[in-house]
């Protein structure tokens, strides 16, 4: 840790420091903090179509905790996160290790190919996969009879969209981390006679655990807030992707389809709490390896 301040500088730096962070802080206050406070206020009121708005304390929260649709949604994203995260990070890690190990023109092309989906807007990516999943006109229909949009399968289909979109991005992050590991570490392993696979598993992977923790935590935050993909796929099978499919979709529909702004705010807050707690549990459990200190 470097020591920056010398005593006489502190006053000047304090002013400069505040001036430097001021524009950002103003934005932070106006587009994050105040909307949050406003949402918090909203969540403590209750409005009905007939009677209008009345103060209701924690009624909305109580209702949400008892709401089977909300609970199913939370459970769904938690399960989704538990399955989706390791699968995607696994794919990203394997790809990163391969690209790190094999240097050929093809591996460079592969690196690009894997990253390109990240450049596609989520809306457009999901629309594309919607076409691909189509049981009559999609290419997958000629290979298999599985209906990718039925209520039993659509969660996997959504998982696939997320994986497709983000695996390459995570691969690049992990690959960049691998590139940062000093080469001598591998060299000594090689002298000890370790094979490529062993080196990858026993040496490289632990060396980049900080980066793995980082991409995992962002994936967790992302999956808990799962929103755009289900919303776009919804018209294709509204029976499978219901209005309460994920907590965020539920909050969206409560607010924008049913004008239940207060209840929606409460749901969002509860989801925020889940995300917050989930992320911190994970960070705490892995704090020795974490990059976010």
């Amino acid at each position: 840790m470097s020591v920056v301040a010398r005593r006489p500088r502190v006053g000047r730096q304090a002013v400069a420091g505040w001036l430097f962070v001021a524009p950002f802080t103003v934005l932070l206050v106006f587009f994050l903090l105040l909307p949050m406070l406003y949402a918090a206020k909203l969540s403590l009121y209750r409005s009905t179509l007939v009677e209008g708005e009345v103060f209701a304390w924690l009624d909305n929260y109580r209702q949400a905790l008892d709401d089977p649709e909300f609970r199913r949604g939370v459970l769904r994203v938690v399960v989704f996160g538990l399955v989706q995260t390791p699968v995607m990070i696994g794919i990203a890690l394997v790809a990163a290790l391969l690209v790190d190990e094999v240097t050929s023109r093809f591996s460079r092309l592969f690196r690009l190919a894997a990253f390109v989906p990240y450049a596609v807007p989520v809306v457009i990516g999901t629309l594309m996969w919607g076409f691909l999943y189509s049981p009559n006109t999609g290419p997958l229909s000629s290979v298999t009879d599985v209906d990718f949009l039925s209520s039993g399968t659509v969660l996997y289909s959504l998982g696939n969209i997320v994986t497709w979109q983000w695996a390459g991005y995570n691969m690049i992050v992990l690959y960049a981390a691998l590139q940062g590991v000093p080469r001598e570490v591998y060299e000594s392993a090689r002298i000890d006679g370790a094979g490529a696979v062993q080196t990858a598993l026993r040496i490289k992977t632990p060396m980049i655990s900080a980066a793995i923790v980082l991409v995992t935590i962002f994936t967790i935050i992302g999956t808990l807030q799962f929103f755009t993909e289900p919303l776009i796929l919804q018209p294709l099978n509204p029976g499978a992707v219901t209005n309460s499919y994920t907590p965020n979709v539920y909050a969206y529909h409560q607010a924008f389809s049913y004008q239940q702004y207060n209840y929606s705010a409460a749901i969002s807050f509860l989801l925020g709490a889940v995300v917050f707690v989930g992320s911190y549990i994970f960070l705490f459990a892995t704090r020795r390896r974490s990059a976010l200190r």
Partner: protein, 306 residues
């Protein structure tokens, strides 16, 4: 972990150096297997693009009635393109321009603000610094959808909904960019040079401009690139904030067409136009990523290491 700090700026050199030493798979069998796995994965990542390319050469009948992964007899790409740019009075072109405007302005603005803040968090001592930074980290976790409605109501109170500012102002806020730039500035801006500049009598702003900014350049480009992509891809915020078709970015515009196509009473179903619109919408990003490879690859290390 702090003792394994690597010099970020040398990463790309390390890459080329290692490529030169040819540290490749050691056995031919391993090499073939590695390539096979990569080929399989590449096919997976690229398949939807191939479909999109093929599909954009078909009209609706071709889309619904021919093999999805191969060209049909009729080549309709140019017809589709001309419909795309003329439909609804050529509004697609406007959407394209809007997307570009939003992402450039938000990208540049957010990067500038994040650079100032990130540098200050890393190198300047001021009261409340740690508290503010902790708050920033905590706020990254708030679900975005939770804030869209209250933000909408507040913006509407200020008369800013349905203007470009409704999209641009919130996009200027990039806490993660601040975090990345703080980490980067912390390691790559040498304290001695800052001190030297100060002793020469330079003001803090000048120190920032002449010493910190040049040292942070690679990370700045990365943050710029990622903010631009994020704004280009933004959907929910403009969806809620804008009701004027002429202000839509591509994502919201295409969704509107898609929505119309799936509603029986909203006119002809223009799936072919939507498909070609999707193709045109992603081309600029792919080109940008190919051209700027050096930056995003190098830049991603910032978050990953440390």
């Amino acid at each position: 972990m702090s003792d394994t700090v690597t010099e970020r700026s040398t990463v790309s050199e390390a890459v080329s150096e290692r490529a030169a030493t040819g540290r490749t798979g050691r056995t031919t069998g391993g090499r073939i297997a590695s390539h096979a796995v990569m080929a399989l994965m590449a096919a997976y990542f690229l398949l939807p693009f191939w479909w999109l390319l093929v599909a954009s050469t078909k009209d609706n009948d071709g889309l619904f009635g021919s093999a999805p992964l191969w060209f049909s007899g009729d080549f309709k790409l140019f017809d589709n393109l001309s419909t795309l740019f003329s439909h609804d009075g050529g509004v697609y072109l406007r959407w394209l321009r809007n997307s570009a405007l939003y992402s450039v302005v938000s990208g540049v603005g957010a990067t500038a603000l994040a650079a100032l803040a990130g540098y200050a968090f890393a190198k300047l001592r001021f009261p409340g610094r740690n508290l503010l930074f902790a708050a920033l980290l905590g706020l990254i976790m708030v679900p975005a959808t939770a804030l869209v409605l209250p933000t909408y109501l507040l913006m509407s109170e200020a008369g800013l909904t349905d203007t470009v500012w409704a999209v641009i102002l919130p996009s200027l806020l990039n806490p993660f960019g601040v975090y990345l730039l703080r980490v980067y500035a912390h390691d790559s801006v040498p304290d001695e040079m800052l001190e030297a500049a100060r002793i020469d009598g330079a003001g803090e702003l000048r120190v920032f401009r002449s010493v910190a900014l040049p040292a942070m350049r690679p990370a700045l480009v990365t943050v710029l690139l990622f903010t631009m992509v994020a704004t280009w891809n933004n959907f929910f915020l403009p969806l809620v904030m804008l009701s004027d078709n002429d202000l839509f970015p591509l994502t919201v515009g295409l969704r509107t067409w898609y929505q119309s196509a799936t509603l029986g009473n909203a006119g002809p179903a223009l799936f072919n136009v939507i498909v070609v619109g999707a193709l045109v919408a992603i081309v600029p990003l792919i080109v940008a990523f190919l051209l700027l490879q050096r930056y995003w690859r190098g830049g991603l290390t910032i978050g990953a290491l440390k």
